[in-house]
Amino acid sequence: MKAGILIGGLVVVGALVAVLYSGFGHDPRAIKSPLIHRTAPDFSLERVDGKGTLSLAQLEGKPAVINFWATWCDPCKEELPVLLQAARGAKGVQFVGIVYEDDPANIENALARHGGAAYPTLIDKGGHAAIAYGVAGVPETFFLDRTGHIVAKFPGPLEPDELQGYLAEIRGSGS
């Protein structure tokens, strides 16, 4: 019997199997954002309604919800009414939509279908803002506290209760 092979082999086997097993819990495509707790990257983008540009600095110390989306993405459209409704009801939180690779007409249509815009929607030409926020897929939503720090990032469409939870979090923090 070779004790070295036995012990060494079993250690290597155990480690390999453990590592492979640990992979089941994770989606290999979900990217964790390193921007959490950091200052949100600035942007200055044109509004889809033609009312000039909007930059992060103009949010004036309010907590903010920044939602990256597009009309060609089904889940984004499922999520849109949730956001619009929350924005209409939420006091003291600024919602911003940033649309990526899309056509203004499509966006206006989508908004109109849910009772019109409740917050500014910006067009991100060339994806500068999306890249600055490390967006890897749409929809993705970032929650900023009043000091402009990113508190959380949510990939995928938000449900109303999830959204309310995050809103409470950013209202309470950063003061």
Binding site: M1, G9, P28
Partner: protein, 668 residues
């Protein structure tokens, strides 16, 4: 249909379970009748899986949408041949097909084992135990035979990529033949460990049965590369994706194992090491399957996030523990470790080559699983991509090239200073090739070193390849007769050197194409032209081709090389009706020196513009040639020869219960 298929698979499961139990019990208690029955059950297992595959094929061809798998991949729109090959287009079908291939190998393995009565029960047991797992997988977690209710009128059809290139039709079966085939050497090696003896006859079978899957892996890997090159449109053939790394790893260990077996034959050492490599090759094929089918790895090729991941991991863990235990407990029985007389000898270089091949395998393995390790250990996300693999493997591959050159120039056993003299001529050949590269514009230091090593190895290989012919000529035999001898008695060595030759050609092609690649990304409107390298291409027009299952947008380019027209290329984008993303069909013009490669990124018939990437890839054609030579060499080396009377007698003797004169008592 569904119930018939399920029944057949369940019967196969039963056959393999009972067979494996009978085989192991028969081996342990020495009951030949039980082993006899195990063998019959092995044949039954194969027949039942064959029948299950036939049932699925019939269902696919007749579009019986009540069968779960047919509902998933069948479609009335696609041509008959696509229906036929969609057996391996998706997860469940591919596992069923896998079962068929396994059945074939189980039969072949059982037939080989029949010649080794002492090892047969253990080998059969291992084969059928693997069969049990796959039959279980097909019967349960990955069953393609579920019933669909209500029966859908039509299905989505198989993945368009399958329809897009005929390479995709033969690539998976080749790879499966390689992957699954490792089960035979695994069973033989495990049987040798169980019986505690690796005699010459078993060694010969083990070597041959390692070469078989190794050959198929070679073909599968290269077809995969060719497919990536021909279909994916990024101008490359290898991206170090987990799906590419998966077959490469067992390929490397199989290469090491076959060479280690040469040393066993000549020096009777390295038996435990070679057997360990064979076991590892099999384990790596299981790991590779897990990688592409568990959804744990971020791969271009990941199959569905299905529930077979945990089942597969359990099987992998069992195989790993079994192999480690078997090796640790029984390796000593194979014989005394032995020694090498001298490091500077052919066997010394084989040992070094083995070391480097195994390190390359471990590097690829580490790089592939590292994102998982980093996630598990540190909770961080990292990527390990092409730049890493290139930087780590290039020096190691160059080392292999050198070892392949120097090793065969040295004799077995001991060597003296005079053995090195012929290498001077080979080094000159290497210098000539490197100088040629320098003249042609190669400046990359690694490429120049590669060319030097390649020249050296090429010279040594050719000299060694034709040495017996030259000797026979010297002894007065005719050229034809000498060549005939070489193809007969010298087939093994000829095959081996041919494979080396192919590897040299392929590695040079890889190096040159990697370093010398030129690219130009442009958007052209009709009549406009652009250039890359010494090629100029002009957009002649766009046409739309409507086919039953897709629409093709074909861009027509007239190509000039050094100012002379050399024909037209027509890259296309294919829009399949079942999928929104178009699949490109790049157009390639291959010549002896380089490939001119056009890949359409966007085609707009309205404005007549085409966005495309144009590449000049030097020497890529030689990669396929090199691979073909390797495959031919392996075929030659692995081809079974008619058994001589002497050999038969020897086998009989080797199988005798006690052979005191031939096998001295093993040290306790």
């Amino acid at each position: 249909m569904s119930s018939l298929g399920s029944l057949l698979v369940l019967a196969a499961l039963l056959a393999s379970v009972v067979g494996a139990a009978l085989a192991f019990a028969g081996g342990a208690r020495k009951v030949p009748a039980a082993v006899e029955w195990a063998r019959r059950l092995a044949y039954a297992f194969a027949a039942l899986l064959l029948a299950a595959n036939v049932v699925m094929e019939v269902a696919l061809l007749k579009l019986d949408f009540s069968v779960h798998y047919v509902a998933e991949v069948g479609s009335r729109e696609v041509p008959m041949w696509v229906r036929g090959v969609s057996l391996w287009s998706s997860l469940e079908g591919s596992i069923l097909f896998w079962g068929l291939v396994l059945g074939v190998y189980v039969v072949l393995g059982a037939r080989t084992l029949k010649r080794f009565p002492r090892e047969e029960p253990w080998g059969l047991g291992v084969l059928l135990a693997c069969g049990t797992f796959f039959a279980f997988l097909i019967a349960g977690p990955a069953s393609p035979f579920g019933t669909v209710s209500p029966v859908p009128p039509d299905g989505p059809g198989p993945n368009p990529l399958l329809q897009n290139s005929p390479l995709m039709i033969i690539h998976p079966p080749m790879l499966y033949l390689g992957y699954v085939g490792m089960v035979v050497p695994f069973a033989l090696a495990a049987a040798a460990l169980f019986s505690g003896k690796l005699g010459p006859a078993l060694l010969q079978s083990l070597r041959r049965w390692t070469i078989v899957p190794w050959l198929f892996l070679t073909v599968g890997i290269i077809l995969g590369a060719w497919w990536a090159y021909d279909v994916l449109g990024w101008g490359g053939y290898w991206g170090w994706d987990p799906v590419e790394n998966a077959p490469l790893m067992p390929w490397l260990t199989a290469a090491a194992a076959v060479h280690a077996m040469l040393v066993i034959e000549r020096r009777k050492v390295l038996r435990g090491w070679a057997v360990g490599l064979v076991l590892t090759s099999f384990l790596l094929t299981i790991l590779g399957t897990f990688m592409t089918r568990s959804g744990v790895f971020n791969s271009v090729h990941a199959f569905s996030q299905s529930n077979i991941g945990p089942t597969f991991l359990t099987f992998l863990a069992l195989c790993l523990v079994f192999s480690v235990l078997l090796l640790a407990l029984r390796m000593d029985k194979l014989g005394r470790p032995g020694n090498l007389e001298q490091a500077v000898s052919r066997e010394g270089f084989v040992v070094l080559g083995n070391l480097v091949l195994v390190v390359i395998m471990l590097t690829v393995l580490l790089g592939t699983v590292f994102p998982l390790i980093a996630q598990a250990v540190e909770g961080i996300q990292v990527s390990v991509g092409e730049p890493y693999f290139d930087r780590m493997t290039v020096p190691l591959a160059v080392a292999v090239l050198f070892l392949m050159g120097i090793g065969p120039a040295l004799p077995w056993g001991r060597s003296g200073a005079q053995e090195w003299k012929p290498l001077i001529a080979s080094a000159v050949a290497g210098a000539v090739l490197a100088a040629l590269g320098l003249v042609l514009g190669a400046r990359d230091p690694w490429l120049l070193v590669t060319l030097f090593a390649a020249g050296l190895t090429l010279h040594v290989t050719l000299v060694e390849m034709f040495r017996p012919v030259a000797q026979r000529l010297k002894h007065g035999r005719g050229l034809v007769a000498a060549l005939k001898d070489e193809l007969g008695a010298g087939r093994r060595r000829l095959g081996g050197y041919l494979a080396h030759l192919g590897i040299v050609v392929a590695l040079v092609a890889v190096g040159v194409s990697h370093v010398g690649k030129l690219e130009n990304d442009v958007t052209l409107t009709q009549g406009q032209s652009a250039a890359v390298g010494h090629y100029v291409f002009k957009l002649g027009g766009i046409r739309t081709v409507n086919e039953p299952q897709r629409q093709r947008l074909v861009a027509h380019f007239d190509v000039l090389r050094d100012g002379k027209p050399v024909g037209a290329l027509e890259p296309a984008l294919n829009y399949y009706f079942t999928q929104r993303e178009p699949i490109g069909t790049p157009a390639v013009r291959t010549s002896l020196t380089d490939d001119f490669y056009l890949s359409a990124m966007s085609v707009d018939p309205g404005s007549g513009t085409v966005g495309l990437r144009a590449f000049v890839n030097p020497m890529v054609g030689w990669l396929w040639v090199g691979a073909l030579i390797v495959a031919a060499g392996l075929l030659l080396a692995g081809w079974p020869r008619g058994r001589t009377a002497e050999a038969a007698a020897l086998e009989a003797e080797a199988q005798g219960a006690s052979v005191p004169s031939a096998a001295p008592a093993e040290p306790a």
